[in-house]
């Protein structure tokens, strides 16, 4: 056993060395070093508030850091899968679990990035975003077809696959689907019938090899993202604020605020739809737990938490709501509306408190299964008869503040095509 551990450690070390060769993330510059040309604003929230300083703070100190962390974690996921796929039968289960954990870490970090979807993540019609994580789009049958095809060397390159057949969502399916039975119509796809009949371990190994290919692709996308935010490479924070992309600083602020509108997706898709509070859920039971995110991994509520915390961090400029770091709250104060900043602060604190309670009640999909659809509909910020549904109302309160007060006070436009369709 010890020999195997030693071998595994050596392989792991070798892989880490390989990933170093591919160009490991270099440590970011100390915050005090200004990564911009001489005389340019610093990203350190010192002095008087300006919208530019706010954008530099969010870009350099939040989004750049998150992108870097996601790159590191996507490489760790790559390594974990390499180790898993090459491990022998006895170690396979343990390493499979490690790969699952590595996926969870990467996934939660990615959720933080998606909470302020802007810049390198959303450029070119969100090309990188949709390649990293296309939820709720998942074509599990096509994934199975690729898994089976790889066993015959007939698989496609990941780069040509549709977004619902690649990315972190597909990895969740491959790593957490315990049924190991393909969802494909076996009459239309007879080759899957043979694959279905394989032994479970063999099927896991097949899935592992396919997962490795997906993890490699995710790491490539993570590199793009990191490069985009890296102050020594793409330096998007500089591009956003130096007048080349936007002539007016208001337009740059608008991009940031539109990024924060990702919270609408959290409200509508991640919460309202599975809770049965959205028109897209129209079945007889009036709730759609099957549409909840991360049903396979059980990460749904943690994903919501990650998104809320990331929203809060970007909005207030730092994790601590009372910090001096420049965020939209400072912009509201400068615009003469401290009450709007305070209102948002109260709403976010309230949401955080309630989130902890909901987290203690179990998985997202389980809570939806157990609740009554009528009680859910009757829940409100005051009447918290179904805590999860009341939490949805807490999020709704924040999106309402964002769409009404904040846009109006700062004279900004709502993002086109995203008016929020559950209000």
């Amino acid at each position: 056993m010890r020999v195997w551990i030693l071998v595994a450690a050596l392989i792991g070390f070798g892989m880490l060395s390989c990933s170093e060769d591919k160009g490991s993330p270099t440590p970011s510059k100390a915050q005090g070093d200004n990564p911009f040309p001489p005389g340019y604003e610093k990203a350190d929230s010192s002095g008087e508030f300006t919208p530019k300083k706010m954008l530099l703070n969010v870009g350099v100190n939040i989004l750049r850091e998150d992108a870097r962390e996601f790159l590191v974690e996507s490489r760790e996921l790559q390594s974990a899968l390499q180790l898993t796929c090459s491990s022998n039968d006895s170690d396979f289960e343990v390493n499979w679990g490690k790969s699952q954990e590595a996926w969870k870490k990467a996934m939660l970090t990615y959720h933080r990035l998606e909470a302020t979807a802007m810049g390198p993540l959303t450029e070119n019609k969100a090309d990188v975003q949709s390649k990293i994580y296309a939820w709720p789009y998942l074509n599990d049958c096509s994934v199975d077809i690729e898994v089976e095809a790889r066993t015959r060397g007939a698989n496609k390159e990941v780069s040509v696959l549709s977004t619902n057949v690649r990315g972190l969502g597909v990895l969740e399916y491959l790593l957490f689907d315990s049924s190991l039975k393909s969802r494909c119509n076996l009459r239309a796809n007879p080759q899957i019938r043979t694959w279905n009949e394989k032994a479970d371990l063999e099927k896991r190994r097949d899935r592992c090899h396919q997962a490795q290919a997906y993890a490699d692709d995710i790491a490539v996308q993570a590199e793009k993202l990191d490069r985009g935010w890296d102050t020594e490479k793409g330096n998007y924070s500089y591009t956003l604020t130096n007048g080349t992309k936007y002539r007016k600083m208001d337009d740059a602020v608008t991009e940031f605020v539109h990024g924060l509108f990702s919270i609408e997706k959290l409200k509508d898709q991640r919460m309202a739809r599975p809770l049965g509070l959205h028109k897209l859920c129209s079945n007889d039971e009036k709730k759609c737990p099957e549409d909840a995110e991360h049903n396979l991994s059980g990460l749904g509520l943690l994903a919501i938490k990650a998104q809320i915390q990331a929203f809060q961090k970007a909005f207030f400029g730092a994790e601590d709501l009372d910090s001096r770091a420049f965020g939209l709250d400072d912009y509201l104060i400068q615009a003469g509306h401290p009450e709007a900043a305070q209102e948002m602060k109260v709403a976010v604190r309230h949401l955080n408190q309630n989130l902890e309670q909901v987290l203690s009640l179990g998985r997202l999909d389980e809570q939806i299964h157990q609740m009554s659809a009528e009680d859910c509909k009757a829940s409100s910020i005051q009447d918290r008869r179904v805590p999860l549904c009341a939490l949805y109302q807490d999020v709704r309160e924040i999106t309402t503040l964002l769409k009404t007060d904040i846009l109006v006070i700062l004279s900004l436009k709502a993002p086109p095509g995203y008016q929020g369709d559950n209000d």
């Binding site: 949709s130 549709s162 977004t163 239309a188 897209l280 095509g417």
Partner: protein, 729 residues
């Protein structure tokens, strides 16, 4: 074969046919076409329309009004389905979307389904039952409303023949196209009558993924009955009853293609449009009293009512309302590509977020009523030493639209659409308008000068009733648009004209309280030349329409976001400047007549203010001064090469339409490239009974993009040939 070889081959065939037919006997010779447009009196008439003649329309067997209209300068048409079923006509820089900025008349009576409360012209009169078209632009359209900033198109129906005549006109050709026209009528002792029937159909030139119908069928019936009344002081008077019935059944869709799919096969149709179907019925009745006044005066009183009902079930959007179908089709990258796969039937909806990937069809059931009483008085008089020609129009008009919109949701499963939820109520409302219109024109003649003064006043009440929400709103609008012009007849062959007028388009109740009229100041100068023999003509007009406020309507056909649907939005100032020119020359050579006509339109249509647009028509985002108005070609040329020799007549029509912008907003703006289309038609008058004809549309069989609207890339009509005969007895 390259284009030049094609053109050379075509020209040689054209000439060979010419010389052969020039030898034929001319016992049943056709009436000679001198120059196709101008009449001598137009030189002295400041508000004379441009005409699409009987030869260019009826005898050329045109079935798509757009193909005929583009022979006139200043008119451009955005093709939609390639068959001319719902022409999008624009005049002098007005947006052609659904012809809603153009007044459509049939024999001087408003014929749009609801011109005040819902001006989008989903119905246009049958070209098969029309003999000519009149196009009034700018100043000359001032007398008619409601939306006459750009101008109007007046369909002239076939008159009762002087002698009893019956005819059968049958043709058929490519893509299972058939066109049948029946006519019987003539003068009688009590007056006269004319009965006409028309059936036009095609199996369609588009191919639906997985098979299915893409064609159409349109049928029209018309009756015209005239009763002569006893003459009063030797002046004629009669009553006429005109009845019309129309029906269309077409498998038409809003859904176009991605650019890549268009490049591979422009005539493809996605699976998601398989259930799309338009059906409409139209009934029309006009009772008209006509009375001759003085030597050239006329009084005409018309009572009219038109009913129109349409039901268009068509692909509208996806279950995910945050997905813009337009954006998905124009730029199918990332997750958007998945939605295109659903449209093609290549991915199941379940793989695209379940209900997010559902396909939603709109069931747009709309009933329209348009009715009124119109009086037109034309009279001559002399006072203050001046000769006056008056035209006075008074009209009481009421129209309404009742919308009963539902949604049908389907799931794409293994390339088939499976119903999920049908007939979900969506919109149930009524828009209603009552308008009183008074218009007066006075042409004062003084020597070689004609001074024109005119004005139109509109007093309109609008009402909107939301039957689902149980709410009602109403508002009134009143405006007066004056105009003045001067025409100087330099000689018997040349006249020059100068005119200026205010123009307005009424705004109903679709702007959520911020209704503002569309208003502009129109200026034009022109010069006309016509030689004594009417074998040479020239017409040049320079105009400028300076909008204080240009309005646009956010509609599904211009990819409106659901929240803004049917909203009228203000675009502020815009300026449209243009040159319209026509040169016509007809000469005799090789024992034949050769009428040649060149029409040119140069347009510069730009916003002259900065604003943020939330209107699909202009695009979403910032519009800055200098941004183009969409779907207005900067240049358009048409060259018509005619030839007639005794019993034979043929015409080669070459149209070049310059590039157009798909939207005003620069971000995401696409250009529709310019294209050339060549059509040919010929007619052989075998005897007084038999006539044979043929036509080829898009002779060069060019694939060309006409629009990215309503949703995605759409092609023009491919090469289509038709042959037929007409028997008259």
């Amino acid at each position: 074969m390259n284009v030049s070889m094609y053109v050379a081959g075509l020209s040689i065939s054209f000439l060979m046919l010419t010389s052969a037919l020039a030898q034929t006997e001319a016992t049943t010779a056709l009436e000679t076409i001198r120059v196709t447009g101008m009449q001598t009196e137009e030189l002295s008439q400041p508000t004379a329309p441009k005409r699409i003649s009987k030869e260019a329309l009826e005898e050329a067997h045109v079935t798509d009004v757009g193909r005929a209209l583009r022979q006139a300068p200043g008119v451009y048409v955005r093709d939609e389905e390639g068959q001319g079923l719902r022409p999008n006509i624009g005049l002098r820089g007005t947006n052609p979307d659904r012809s809603k900025k153009v007044v459509i008349l049939l024999d001087e009576i408003l014929i749009g389904p609801a011109p005040y409360s819902a001006p989008a012209a989903y119905y246009t009169p049958s070209v098969n039952l029309s003999e000519q078209l009149e196009i009034y632009k700018g100043f000359s359209a001032l007398m008619y409303g409601p939306n006459s900033v750009g101008g109007m198109v007046n369909y002239i129906s076939r008159p009762i023949p002087a002698e009893k005549t019956s005819s059968v006109d049958v043709s058929g050709g490519s893509y299972g196209s058939t066109n049948l026209k029946l006519l019987s009528g003539g003068k009688t002792s009590w007056g006269g009558y004319l009965l006409e029937g028309s059936h036009l159909s095609s199996a369609g030139f588009k191919k639906l993924d997985g098979g299915g119908d893409t064609g159409f069928m349109r049928q029209d019936l018309a009756g015209r009955f005239q009763w002569n009344l006893p003459d009063v002081d030797g002046r004629l008077q009669y009553v006429e009853l005109r009845l019309g019935l129309g029906h269309e059944d077409s498998d038409e869709t809003y859904l176009g293609l991605t650019e890549a799919d268009f490049a591979a096969n422009p005539y493809r149709r996605y699976k998601a449009s398989a259930l799309d179907h338009m059906k409409w019925d139209h009934q029309s009745a006009v009772v008209e009293y006509n009375r001759q006044l003085g030597t050239s005066g006329l009084w005409k009183m018309s009572l009219y009512r038109h009913n129109f009902h349409r039901d268009w079930n068509r692909f509208d959007r996806f279950g995910n309302t945050n997905i813009s179908v337009k954006s998905v089709l124009l730029d199918p990258v990332g997750n958007d590509a998945l939605y295109v796969d659903v449209l093609r039937g290549e991915q199941d909806s379940s793989a695209v977020g379940g209900s997010l990937g559902h396909i939603v069809l709109a069931g747009n059931d709309r009933s329209f009523v348009s009715q009124g009483l119109q009086s037109i008085l034309m009279a001559d008089s002399e006072f203050w030493g001046l000769s006056h020609q008056f035209k006075f129009i008074a009209r009481l008009h009421q129209d309404q639209i009742d919308r009963n919109h539902t949604l049908d949701t389907y799931e794409m499963v293994s390339g088939q659409m499976q119903a999920v939820n049908l007939n979900e109520p969506y919109q149930l409302n009524q828009e209603w308008a009552f308008a009183k219109t008074l218009a007066l024109q006075d042409d004062l003649r003084w020597g070689d000068w004609v001074f024109t003064l005119m004005g139109r006043g509109e007093f309109i009440d609008f009402r909107f009733r939301d039957k689902m929400a149980g709410t009602e709103r109403s508002r009134s609008d009143a405006f007066f648009v004056p105009g003045a012009g001067a025409l100087y007849q330099v000689s018997g062959n040349v006249s020059v004209k100068l005119a200026v007028n205010r123009a307005a388009t009424a705004t109903g109740l679709d702007a959520g309280g911020s209704e503002r009229r569309e208003e502009s100041l129109n200026k034009e100068v022109g010069i006309k030349y016509l030689n004594d023999e009417r074998t040479a003509e020239a017409d040049l007009v320079l105009f400028e329409n300076d909008y204080d406020n240009i309005t646009g309507t956010c509609t599904a056909s211009n990819s409106c976001q659901p929240g803004n649907l049917d909203q009228q939005l203000n675009g502020g100032g815009a300026k449209i400047q243009g040159i319209e020119a026509r040169l016509g020359y007809s000469f005799r050579a090789l024992k034949s007549w050769w009428p040649v006509q060149l029409n040119a339109t140069l347009l510069r249509a730009r916003f002259d203010n900065d604003f943020n647009s939330s209107n699909g028509e202009w695009g979403y985002g910032d519009v800055v001064s200098g941004d183009p108005l969409p779907y207005i070609p900067e240049v358009q040329y048409s060259l018509i090469l005619g030839h007639e020799a005794g019993k034979f007549r043929q015409s080669l029509n070459i149209l070049y339409q310059g590039s157009m912008a798909d939207q005003s907003v620069e971000v995401g703006r696409r250009s529709i490239p310019g294209y050339t289309v060549v059509d040919w038609n010929a007619l052989y008058n075998w005897s007084s009974t038999w006539q044979f004809f043929g036509k080829v549309e898009n002779v060069l069989n060019r694939n060309y993009l006409v629009a990215f609207r309503p949703l995605g890339a759409r092609p023009g009509k491919p090469q289509t040939a038709m042959i037929g005969f007409k028997a008259s007895f």
